[in-house]
């Protein structure tokens, strides 16, 4: 595929400039598999018979946060949470989880929403610092929020980062902030690869729908998946394209790719929305999602679980938005013990036919 890229781009320009230039590109791009080659037996694919790789092991050798501002042991705390945006279901679920958990434990929680603007989040956090909460939770919009984290530490407020990190050269983990609780996107990609091997017996020509180019979930979910499928020679990504994490793009890109890669038998989407679009495209192309084309994705949204239950989506790896319990457990542990690891990884589940139905009601 990679070889074709330049030739095609070049060929297209040539075609646009002059009337020549078409014929040398005439061989179809789908010629990856040799004609008549017998399908590789799934015995070659250890993934297909292995157990779900599960969550990544807790990172080892992570230092403990000891130099960050301390938190006294109290029954209830006044805490603040700076959320970076509320324009998608995942973030709404994250905020809701923080609110619910705070209420359950009797903590006073103030939430701000930065509307996806970095300047606004910096102002939000400065405002929260002025209110002197016992602890400050931040879901940073980018890594550039280090300076304002340093300000919070200088004001004696312990900071806990959720789902994204800040520049560690500006704000030192364990010193200016206590810890960062993240999801392991690479492991999510690996588990998706495992589900793909299960779905296809280790033989598939895969269309990969990537997330927004350059975003960390897109990069890491691709990395984890691509690495894992190298164990299985029968699993081959025949084409990989960005569909921007949206359902509409997932559908239109899949429609185009199904037509140009009629031999594709599976789709791996970096999120549920693109997978749902892809399923609609598969149906529109007159094929049956779940039998002609297997689809695997990541996120664990309610619509996706419904699709899993209906047999159209083989599996979706959860990307857990419910940071609340872990966030407050960590805060309380830090108060009691005076130290926690400076990096923590949130556990994700894997939803397939066996457990999708019972989880639809609680999915976000």
């Amino acid at each position: 595929m990679r070889v074709g890229t330049k030739a095609v781009a070049g060929g297209l320009l040539a075609a646009a400039l002059a009337l020549a230039g078409c014929s040398n590109d005439a061989s179809p791009a789908g010629g990856g598999g040799e004609a008549g080659a017998a399908p590789t037996a799934s015995a070659d694919c250890p993934l297909a018979s292995a157990a779900d790789p599960g969550n990544s092991a807790p990172p080892t050798g992570v230092p403990m946060a000891t130099a960050a501002p301390k938190l006294p042991v109290k029954d209830t705390y006044t805490v603040a949470f700076s959320q970076n945006a509320s324009n998608n279901p995942w973030r709404l679920a994250e905020t809701a989880s923080m609110r619910e958990e705070a209420e359950e434990r009797g903590h006073q929680l103030t939430v701000t929403d930065a509307n996806n603007e970095q300047a606004k989040q910096i102002q939000d956090i400065k405002g929260l610092i002025a209110q002197k909460p016992d602890a400050l939770f931040i879901a940073p919009i980018t890594e550039q929020l280090g300076n304002v984290v340093v300000e919070a530490a200088a004001a004696g407020i312990p900071v806990f980062l959720l789902d994204r990190d800040v520049d560690n050269t500006v704000a030192k983990p364990g010193e200016q902030f206590v810890t960062v609780i993240v999801s392991d996107f690479v492991q999510q990609g690996k588990r998706a690869a495992w589900a793909m091997a299960k779905a296809t017996g280790g033989n598939a020509k895969i269309i990969e729908l990537e997330g927004t180019t350059g975003s960390s979930p897109a990069i890491d979910r691709k990395k984890g998946f691509d690495e894992a499928i190298t164990q299985c020679p029968g699993l081959e990504v025949v084409v990989s394209q960005s569909a921007d994490f949206t359902r509409a793009e997932g559908q239109s890109v899949t429609e185009t790719l199904l037509q140009s890669h009629p031999d594709a038998t599976a789709i791996y989407a970096h999120n549920d929305e693109m997978a749902l679009g892809a399923i609609a495209a598969v149906r529109a192309a007159g094929k049956v999602p779940g039998s002609d084309i297997q689809v695997v994705s990541i996120d664990g949204s309610r619509d996706a679980l419904t699709a899993v239950d209906a047999g159209e989506l083989f599996a979706t790896v959860e990307s857990n938005p419910r940071f609340g319990p872990r966030a407050f457990d960590t805060m309380e542990q830090y108060a009691r013990e005076g130290q926690v690891p400076v990096q923590l990884v949130l556990e994700d589940r894997l939803f397939d036919k066996a457990n999708a139905a019972q989880n639809i009601a609680t999915a976000y």
């Binding site: 180019t213 429609e255 037509q259 140009s260």
Partner: protein
Amino acid sequence: MPETVSDPAATRSPESAAAATGRRGAVWAARAQRYGAGVLLVLLFAYNALATPNFLTVQTLLDVQLRQAAPVAIVALGMALVIATGGIDLSVGSVMAIAGQVGALTLLAGVGPVAAVALALLAAAACGVFNGSLVVRYGVQPIVATLILFIAGRGIAQLLSGGRLTGFRDPAFQFLGLGRVAGVPMPVVLMVVLAAVLWFVVRYTAYGRTLLATGGNPRAARLSGVRVGRVTMIAYVASAALAGLVGLVVIGITSASDANNVGLGLELDAIAAVAVSGTPLTGGRISVIGTLVGAVVLRLLQNTLIAQGVPREVAQIVTGVVIVIALFLQRRSR
């Protein structure tokens, strides 16, 4: 018969201008100007016919290429109207999101599919009235006037949605996106019918002539009795209503209204489609078929690159280069 309709008082057709100077090269250059987008379409089609598997099938051409081009094409038709008045409409993407959200919410509220579609189109038309009023009554520059709803409109849609995807299943409501008439996907039917109507209006009605006069020279038009304000207002309302219709098409296809993403960036695709068709953005001219061809060319180009696995960032550069080529072809005779 030249398809581009222009205000005779404001501009001379480039072909007749070239013929007047009597140079053969100039005549060819003028043809390239007129048919630049068409030339690109033929080249892209030929390339795909040779290089892309399954390209020459009814399913690919109708269900993939034309169906995917239809939303941009329909929005571009409205955009062409506004551009003909010498204006521009940046709000169409946000209006799509508003109409989609209003349609989805009213449908879920149980008003029935027909009323939901009507309310969504009404909301879109109201956005057009807002744009038109700013331009006509308060003399705000079109790019600024429509920038307001470009920004605020998506906020309105997001407020209505509460940040969530609004999912639904209703075959009647989704007929605009998923239906078929004699086997032809509904978006394609809409595209063809609307283009035919607009072509007729521009060519054979008084509104068409006053529209081009307004864009060509608003002062002269006003002095000769054209109700410039009304003509301009109608263009903005039509543009918004078409955008609203496309919003309903798009959410019908995906069975969910996504206020954050419906129509995102579509205003620029629509402007690009008009520009590729060779219509100057200064007003006084409109090319209905050219706009249609422009939209199809841009979509086909994008799909060609996707089908060949060209990374998105490279595809964007190639698209830019192709627009430059189209404009270059169209500028030579100037």
